[in-house]
């Protein structure tokens, strides 16, 4: 048991607890706040696994960008409590349970097909220089596709969010 292991297990416990709290909250704002904690823990795990650039991006993009955007929209939108918004009955859980069973079997197969692989984590494997070199030399085409995807998402979000002249569209 070394420091790496201890930090990894603490971060994993924080991530699992924060995610479990996030997905069970009734209030969306509380859920988003717990999710930010979960993403911070994920960033720690990324750093331990030798991806310092991804750890920084996780904090900046996920916790800083996406979750703040989420919080803005949650606070902007009037979310009235609906009496029909009751927790699901057990019948609705059946497909979820079946899927969970299949996932558990597949996870077990994955784990037992590759047992006892103990990693030896160096302090940092993927320096940002190495990461950028591979990203822009071998993956230049997916990077262009990703930029197109982001542009399409931007235009789509602007189009969907615009105010039209219809009286039913005004809040």
């Amino acid at each position: 048991m070394t420091l790496f292991n201890i930090i990894f297990y603490i971060a994993a416990a924080i991530v699992i607890c924060a995610t479990g709290l996030a997905i069970t909250r009734q209030s969306t704002v509380h859920a988003v706040c717990y999710l930010v904690i979960s993403f911070m823990g994920t960033a720690v795990i990324f750093y331990i696994l030798g991806a310092p650039l991804l750890a920084a991006l996780e904090v900046i993009i996920y916790a800083g960008g996406i979750m703040v955007l989420f919080l803005f929209v949650v606070m902007m939108v009037k979310d009235q409590q609906d009496p029909r918004d009751k927790p699901s009955r057990i019948k609705k859980w059946l497909p979820a349970l079946i899927l969970a069973g299949i996932s558990a079997v597949m996870a077990g197969m994955l784990v037992f097909a590759d047992p006892g692989n103990r990693l030896r984590p160096p302090a940092v494997t993927g320096t940002p220089q190495e990461f950028g070199r591979i990203l822009f030399q071998e993956y230049w085409f997916p990077v262009e596709i990703a930029s197109l995807l982001l542009l399409a998402a931007l235009i789509g979000a602007l189009y969907l969010g615009r105010r039209t002249g219809h009286p039913e569209d005004t809040p």
Partner: protein, 101 residues
């Protein structure tokens, strides 16, 4: 100084199942989106763990693309929620059962 790969895989699988359960059982559109985000995050952890396991940077690049897709997806989904909430004044997924209304 060793970490079992299976423990990281278990973490990713557990997170993915938590996100899937949230996306399938909650009715608020925001909570469904949160479930999807948790699932994408779990996929990123699995990619980075695999990159560590085989000492291959390609997994980390894939995790970056997962992050990009999550950002694009959340922007469009939030715009859709705002758009649909203006019409129905609700974010309950069960309310959206009319094709032309």
């Amino acid at each position: 100084m060793t970490l079992p790969y299976t423990h990281m895989l278990f973490l990713a699988i557990l997170l993915f199942m938590m996100g899937a359960a949230c996306a399938m059982t909650r009715k608020s559109l925001f909570m469904i989106l949160i479930g999807v985000e948790v699932m994408l995050n779990a996929a990123g952890i699995a990619f980075v763990a695999a990159a560590m396991r085989w000492l291959d940077m390609n997994g980390q690049v894939m995790a970056l693309f997962v992050m990009t897709a999550a950002a694009a997806e959340i922007a469009v989904a939030l715009a859709l929620i705002v758009c649909v909430q203006r019409r129905t004044l609700s974010t309950n997924a069960d309310r959206f059962n009319l094709l032309k209304g």
